[in-house]
């Protein structure tokens, strides 16, 4: 088990956003979390990555407890994430965006007396090429198109050399074609690097295309978990979530 979550609970001012969530993820698995808005999906991510501290419950990563550690320490253990909104370094160039994350992974950001300009060029270049932004390395990232910013966002997450990748709505704000491309890209890079993937997604087509396992979250609880075909046939899921969309 690469990730184990036991009874995670978080309330905001009396409103229980996640209630005793427990599940575990196997190494190499590619799974999705789906559920209506407000189901607690992003909160769940934030609890795992240390952006929020759970009221109760525990999180184990590769057998080691990581509950309540600050985000930067959890990241260094091998969990990278992306955010629902594009979350890049808008004033830095495309190259620098990925480079800085590579430098952190290589533990080199404490160096203060030598130039960073050409450092980690090979690793950075490799990531940029694999996300298809190699040609645009000098562009200031804030001026990229939304789709390219999302790809860069993924590149920054990959630079952490993660064992587990959490993506929060990787196709949000994309056209159907862009969305298909993005999922293909995620499919390829996670396969190439043997990364375990957990993603939140509203685009059901994208979910069924990639996820080997799906967990359905509703009002802070997991109401169903299983293979895509099982989820598709689950009556409760149909009623609460999938049915809503028809």
């Amino acid at each position: 088990m690469i990730l184990e979550v036991e009874g995670l609970t978080k309330s905001f001012g009396g409103l229980m956003v996640t209630g005793h969530i427990s599940f575990s993820i196997q190494e190499g698995e590619r799974s999705a979390v789906i559920g209506p808005n407000g189901a607690g999906k992003t909160t769940l991510f934030n609890l795992v990555t240390g952006h929020l501290r759970p009221d109760e419950g525990k999180v184990y990563f590769q057998g080691e407890e990581i509950t309540g550690l600050p985000p930067h320490r959890i990241c260094r253990k091998g969990i990278s994430r992306s955010f629902q909104r594009v979350n890049i370094f808008p004033m830095l160039s495309v190259f620098e965006n990925v480079q800085v994350a590579v430098l952190v992974t290589q533990r080199k950001t404490r160096g203060i007396f030598f130039s960073a300009r050409e450092m980690a060029r090979k690793e950075t270049q490799m990531i940029l090429d694999s996300i298809g932004l190699g040609e645009q390395e000098k562009v200031i990232s804030g001026t990229l198109s939304h789709g390219d910013q999302k790809r860069l966002d993924l590149g920054i997450a990959l630079a952490g050399n993660p064992r587990l990748l959490l993506l929060d709505e990787p196709t949000s704000g994309m056209s159907p074609e862009e969305s298909t491309q993005a999922m293909a890209l995620i499919d390829r890079v996670t396969r190439e690097r043997g990364i375990t993937l957990l993603f939140i997604e509203h685009d059901i087509g994208a979910v069924f295309a990639l996820a080997e396992r799906i967990r359905v979250l509703h009002m802070g609880c997991i109401i169903a978990e299983g293979k895509p075909e099982e989820i598709r046939e689950n009556d409760e899921v149909q009623r609460i979530y999938l049915g809503e969309r028809k």
Binding site: T49, H51, N87, I88, F89, L92, L103, V104, T109
Partner: protein, 303 residues
């Protein structure tokens, strides 16, 4: 650079002193810009570390009779120590709360200096600071100051171009994401705060020795805003922006006050225009022109 070497031989002594003043301000403002332009942290109490540097140098020379270079070297160490203590509290907050806390601590340092008569001389300051004979002429001090300025700018440039500097810029752009790529945001902000404080201390010591006197006003918040104004004038998104801003401010001050009594009015107007129309300050404006010029030149070559 060469101009700076020969310029003092061509101009009057009062202008040379003005240039020394300008260089001290340039160090202070550039160090402040490590926090603002590179780290995204607006510090309203930065003069405190400039002042600590100035008083460290003054006290060591006047009361302890320490050698000059030792006094100069001790200044950044004490300033860094001060910044380390204050920074520890400040980096726990962000945005306006960070700014207000730096202001509050800055004023605490100012008030302590103002009231502690037996040690700092209170509002009388410390006067008649002795200088070694080899630096007693204005011209010689000018060259000393120039060397210190160059050394500081070189050091700070290395720092902002380093991997640490890159991490700092990432932090400015997006603290949330910076934490998520594995950077301890508080620790890095804290280190930046200390580094900026240390360099500010060198600026303070440089000016203190030249001025022969130090006063609590060196660490008043108005001194902090002076550095802030200079940074905005010159441009905070360019390494040399604050230094350029210092030149503009000091010379404009001198020129305008020669003819007009309303210097602050002119400065206010200039600042308002800068902020409204040229966010990048003077250097940003130049860089933009250069970009347009280059683009038009490239355009000629395109098929």
């Amino acid at each position: 650079m060469i101009v700076l070497l020969f310029l003092p031989l061509a101009i009057g002594e009062s202008w040379v002193s003005l240039m020394v003043e300008m260089m001290a301000l340039a160090i202070l403002a550039t160090s402040l810009n490590i926090l603002i332009g590179y780290g995204g942290m607006v510090n309203f109490g930065h003069a405190a570390y400039y002042g600590i540097g100035a008083y460290t140098c003054a006290l060591l020379l006047k009361k302890a009779g320490a050698p000059f270079l030792l006094a100069m070297a001790a200044a950044p160490i004490f300033s860094a120590a001060g910044a380390l203590v204050v920074g520890w509290f400040c980096v726990r907050l962000s945005h306006i709360y960070f700014a207000m806390l730096t202001l509050a601590f800055g004023q605490i340092v100012f008030t302590v200096t103002l009231q502690w008569y037996s040690f700092t001389g209170g509002d009388n300051g410390i006067t008649e600071i002795p200088l070694p004979t080899f630096l007693q002429s204005t011209l010689r001090y000018y060259y000393f100051a120039l060397a210190v300025l160059m050394l500081c700018l070189w050091g700070m440039k290395r720092i902002v171009d380093s991997p640490f500097g890159k991490a700092l810029q990432a932090l400015r752009d997006n603290p949330l994401r910076t934490a998520s790529i594995g950077i301890n945001v508080r620790l890095y902000s804290w280190m930046a705060f200390m580094i900026a404080g240390a360099f500010a201390g060198i600026g303070g010591a440089l000016f203190a020795a030249f001025n022969h006197n130090v006063f609590p006003t060196f660490m008043h918040w108005t001194k902090s805003t002076e550095a802030l104004v200079v940074t905005l004038l010159g441009g905070m998104f360019h390494f040399y922006g604050p230094a350029v801003g210092s030149v503009i401010l000091i010379f404009l001050d001198k020129l305008v006050t020669n003819y007009l009594r309303y210097w602050s009015f002119v400065l206010g107007l200039l600042l308002a225009l800068m902020v409204l129309f040229f966010r990048g300050g003077f250097t940003g404006f130049l860089a933009e022109r250069l970009e347009i010029y280059r683009a038009s030149k490239d355009g000629d070559h395109d098929p």
